[in-house]
Each structure stands twice: as structure tokens, then as C-alpha cells.
Amino acid sequence: MITTRRSRIIRFLFVRLFVSIPVILGIVFLTFMLIRIGGQDPVAMIAGPVADSAMLSAIRTQLQLDQPLLQQFLNYVLLVSQGDLGVSWQGGIPVLSEIKQLFPATLELVFLSVGLAALIGVPIGMRSAFKPNGWFDQLTRFCSLAGFSMPTYWLGLMAIFVFFYLLRWAPAPMGRLGVDVATPAVVTGSVLIDCLLEGNWNALSSALSHLALPVLCFALLAAAPIIKQTRAIMLEIVGSDYVRYARANGFSKKTIEKIALRNAAGPLLTFLGLELTSLLAAAALIEYIFSLSGLGQWGLNAILLGDFAVVQGYVLTLALSSMLIFMVIDLMVLLLEPRN
């Protein structure tokens, strides 16, 4: 029994890996082509304000932009398969080293936000589902739709206005640490973890205070879909035979909630995975507003500046991490569900 289960899991991982490859290739191919067929020429941007045509063509050759598109793509894939993401067209910093430096900031933001959002969203969604159409349900439905509808960046701006400009409660939206704080040595790249490792409490509190507002904004908005989904999942479970049976058995509300939550864990986890990946991308806006200098801000800039190497690196990172997240989540669900 145990062996069959383990072999099933291993097979699952293999299949997932196998299926992921074409999807990732598809994403990379899609972005690769789309940013190039647009007709925008990045070379002038790279060459800078003083550039003559000789300089332009030299850069074009250097970046292989004079080659056919498909050839460019194949070259790129070949390089990527060797773990080389190329160098940024703006300044020549290796894309991979930038990703290593910037991704932890984004992960920090996204995981904290999703975590907080789940803490907010799941209980509220559950309560709604247990009393569907009651006042609480109507109110949360409205609120979650409002959260759904609110532009992230706008909420961020308004939060800055209130908490930084008016109340001076939040620190200036400037980076991940205060200027007067000694930056911890980079170990993991996550400021929070690095501070903890170093025991640098001063920096830790500064990092937390810089993260608080963006995380709060992000989590509030991320909670909306979680509420909605939890409600939908729970509604189905609450209407299920086994919850009806548990009710008929006179189980306490707490026990019934426990049963429902346990049964919702699988679909909820799957949804949280989805939420994680979508937040990874949406983080760009929050990072931009709060100058958090994460991966998203970097990618956003690259898109605006036409730095294709960075755009590709960004897209690839997002795609790969989405895949990884899905895989881990699916694996967790697999282990969680007795039926598998």
C-alpha cells in the first residue's frame, strides 16, 4: 500500500514535469515572439543619447538582432538550457544574478501577503458559506467584490497618502530598509530572514515596517478572491451529504467546521497556489508603488525600456516558479487526500 502510493507520487511528479516542459516552452516562445514582432526597436534605447548609425549596427550585431527570429529563439533556448539567461541589455549585468538578487524580495512580499490574505479570507469565506445569504454573507460578498474591483496600485497610493503623508505612521515608501539601518549580509536574499540569521533586530524592525503597508494592501486585495473561492468550496461542502449527516448527528459547530475545513483543504490549497502565482505577477505594481525593488519592478522597467533579455528572464522566472508552485501544491494535495 505504501509502496504503491510512493510509486504513484513519483509517477505523478514525472508526468507533471513532462507536461510542464512544453507549457514553459510555449510561454517563453510566446513572449519571445510577441516582444519582437511589435516593431519597437530597442537598439536606440540601449545606445543612449549620443549614438551614430555605426554604433547602432554594432549593437544590433552584438545582440544578434540582425538574425532571423527563429534563429534568435533557438539560440536563446540553447543558452537557457545551459543555465545562461544572458546579460541585461541595459548595462550588461547577468540576468540570472539580478534574478537571484531581486526574487527574494518579491517572494517575501508575495508569501507574506498570501499568508495574511488566507488568514483573513478563509475564516470569512467559511462563515459566509455556513450562513449563505445572511447579512454577513451579503456584506462579505459585497466587500470581496469591492476588493476584487479595486486597483492594487490605487489602493497602494491611497494608503501611502493616508499612512505616510497624513499620519506619518508608515515609513517613506522607499525600498526595503530605512537608510539609517545597516543592511544585513546577504545570505538568502530575503531581508527578513537575513536579519533573523544575523540577529539584527534593528534592521528587522525596519524591514518589517517597510513591508507592513505593502503587505497589508496586497493582502486585503488578495483576500477578496480567497473569500469568494472559500465560500464556493465551502458551500459545496456544507451542502454535502457528510456535513448534513454530521449535522444530523448533532455535532458541535466547531467539529463541523473542522470536518468542512479538512475536506476543503485540497481545493483551497490548489486555489492558494493559483493565487500565489497571480500575485507573483501582480507584485510588480505594489513593488513599483512602494519602491520595493523586487523582481516585478525590474521586469516592469525592462518591458518599458525594451530590455528583451530581462523581459525574457522575468517571464521565464515567473513561468518556472508558477510551475513549481503548482507542482508543490498538487503534491501536497496528493498527500493530503486519502483518496489518492
Binding site: 549620443v50 550588461g92 495574511l116 515608501p173 525600498g175 515596517s209 507592513a212 525594451g306
Partner: protein, 523 residues
Amino acid sequence: MMKKQGSVLTLILIVALNIFPEVWAQEKTLVIAMNSTPKGVDPDIWVPGQIEATVNLYEGLTSYGTRVGSNGKLEVDPGKIQPHLAESWTVSPDGKKYLFKLKHGIRSPFGNELTAQDIVWTYEKSALQKRTGQFMASVGRIEKVEAASKYEVRFQLSDANRIFLGALTLHLPAIFDSVEAKKHASPDDPYAAKWLSLNSAGFGPYHLQSLQSGQQAVFVVNSNYFFKKPYYTKIIWREVPSPATRVALIRTGQVQYAEQIPFQQLTVLRTDPAVKVESVPGFGGATVRMNPRYQPFDKVKVRQAVAYATDYAAISEAVFLGQGTRSRSMLNSPIAGAVNAYKYETDYNKAKQLLTEVGYPNGVDVTLEYSTNWWWEEPLVLQMQASLAKAGIRVTPKKIPSTEMLARRTINVWTVPFLTHLTSSFVPDPSYNMFLTAHCKGSSNVNANCDAAMDKLIDASAIEREEKRWLSLIEQAQNLQADSATFIETFLPGTHEVFAACMKGYLWRPHNRLVWKDLNCSS
């Protein structure tokens, strides 16, 4: 469940609301709020933030002298070029050979002394990279650089020219500590371009200590710096992409300098006791340019009509908030030889009359394209739209991305008929400036401004060594440009640097970048 969630929320809130007033305690550290961290620090490769950093890392063989200006403040005198890293120089009679003697004892942070070899290596590197450094070398018509002895270096020029010494004041081609740089070279990369793009090895006052892309860069003073020791020993360069945030930071005293502050904010900042605004007119002019290869701008009278239909007073008020300086030529003071060539004043009737003369009695429809390279573009375009309408020139404003603008306005592409542009350069030399912007081969010629007579005047001025004839050539060229009216000269937006109130010592340089070694905040 609900309880747990509540307590976590409270915890987060407590952290969020726990304010840490980031009081600036450490001394002699300068914190600056910049648009972006340097994307690289190799002066040969132009990338965002690079110039702002490298003017502080590398210095030239020459430098500009200073004088006391009309307002009693010290200012740069572009007419006076003095030795800097060089001790002295001699020129051959034909003006094509220069021999520089280097000062002894100039050392990089790595302890290596500056020798003629470093300079030769520098020019070799730029020649190989074929980027901005080589461009600047070509501007000075430098043909060959060789070491005459350990402390002597010889420059061979293709033509005698006036810009050469001015170009040597610049930070590029950067004079590298070649001894250190060579340690990081490889057969693939003989000039250590990879290493130099993320590390500094110069003889300037500062060097790069750490660079966290997108977050901050830290520069520390070169302890071996040959000249007067800078007041600030450490520069913390924070990336703050939003100009508004930069304003907030300077106002709350969390940084001592903030770059690229929007004009509207300046008026407020001037009244803020915590902030000091230093304003210099500079010589860069906000222009609107017409490409004569497109209708209706192929007709000079249409272009002149546009010049007459521009409401300069309104632009001054609404766009530059009364803080700009009227531009009167494609060259402006302090560039030598600048004259009042551009004589157009607002006159709608004259504009209408000119339009009628060339067959546009009912006016014309044009699209004015602009981007966001400079903050004033959009308001200027809107003002142009309003005032040109009064002469029957109906303007459709169109904002396009910077990438598109750069690509389409490039020399020999020239597909933007009507656009906004800033006339500017690093070197305040008249011939060079005219060449860049108005010569058919100039790399800042964005509107196909190709006129054989103009090219001839500019070319002649560049090699003319007799002062009077030189000035006359420059004046002719300016007048010719003003008459052809392909440039609508509006205002010099000026350079407005925003500092903490205590900041002293600011000195404007022709490269228009902040030089940290000038600054001090001592009481």
C-alpha cells in the same frame, strides 16, 4: 479561527504603525534619492544612472576653471580650461599634437599610481568597445594616444580643433587604473569590460563599494585622492523611482539630495525651510522641432508661422512657472559665441498671413509627438496646442513611448515630423553643439535638419583657429538656423538641484550632473 486571524492582524498593524523616524545620525554620509541605481558604472556604456555615478568616479586630464559670477557665487568658466590630472601640456604649431605631463602621486583607491600607460589603456579600451567613449574620442578628433614616458602621454589629432581640451575635462573615455583592471581581464575580455561595468577603478574622488541593483549603491571616498579631500566620506544612493517620493524624502529630511524633481514641486520646495533649491539656467533649451521632409513643414513659411503662433509668455508662465530662461538661439550662454538669433515673438496675425501665403488660408492639421524623456514635454505640447490653434494650426498631441521616440528620431531614420526635444550636450563648445544638433550628420539631429550651407558653416567653425572669424562663423550659423525656423526655441528649463537646507558648495558643471566632492554640510 477568527481569533487567530484577529491577533495576527493586530500584530501586523502594530508593526505597520510602529514608526521608526529614520533620523539621520551618522556624519559625513550623503544619502541621495535617485531615479534608479546605476545599471552599470562603465563610462563607455551608456545606461541609466551611469553618468550620475561615473562623473564622481573618474576625472579628466583637464578641468574647467571657475570664476565669481554676477550673483556673487562661484561658477564654472567654460572659457578657461586648466590642467587637472595633467600637470601641463604643450601643443604643436599645427595644433594636431599634444603632449601632456601627468602629475606625480595620483593614486587610485587600490594604491596604484597614475601613469601614461593607464591613459593609453583607456583609449584602447574605448576603441575596442566602440561605444560612448569612442564617440567622445572622435568628437575631439583623437587619432592616436601613446605613452611618451612614464608620466608623459602624447595625443595625435586628425584635425586641429577647439573641442579637444574641453572633451578631456570629461569623465570619458574614463582614465582607469589599468593595473587593477588588468587583474580582472580574460582572453575573451582583454579590457575587463565585464568587471568594469560593475566595479570602479579610477583616480576620482569616490569609488563604488557595493551595488544592489534596484535598491542602493554605496560609494566611499578614495582615501588616496590627490586633490582636496571631499567632505562626504560615504554616499548612499537609494533608488526611488517616483519623483513624488523623492520630494517627500527630501522634505522629511531623510535624504540630502533628490534628483529630477518635477517643476511644479519646485515652487513649494523653495518655500520649505528644510530644503534648499539651487537653480542654474544651463544651456539646454526646450525646443519643438519640425522635420522639413514632411508636409507642411517642408515650407519655411509654415515653420515660421509656427514660431510666430507660439505663445512664449504663456509657456513661461504655465510650463516653466516663470523659472525658465528664454532661449534666443540654438546656442545659449555660457557657450561662447551665443547670440540673440531667434527673434520670433508671438504674433498670430503674422502667422496666419504666412500660412495664407503658402496656400493654407484655412490653417493646417498637424500631430505633435512627444515622450516622457523630460518632464516639460507634455505641458509644453499642451500649451503649443492651445496657442497654435489661435493661428489656425490645429495640433493633435500624441504621446509615444521613449523607446519609440528614440528609435524614430534617430539620425537617418527621422520619421517624426513634429516633436519636442532638448538641445543639450556635455561640452559647452559652440561648434560641437551646433554639429550635434543642426548638422546633417549630428547624432542629436532629430528632425532631418539638413542644409548644406549650414553644414559648411559648422564644419568651418570647428577647425577655425582665428577667434574673430570663428565667432563670425558661429553667428552666421545661428542666424541661418533661426531663419529656417526648424527649431522653435522656447525656454531653458534650467538645472534645479534640490538639497537639504544646510547644503553648501554646489557647483554647476557643463555635464549637468551632481559632483559630490563639491558638497558639504558643515556648520
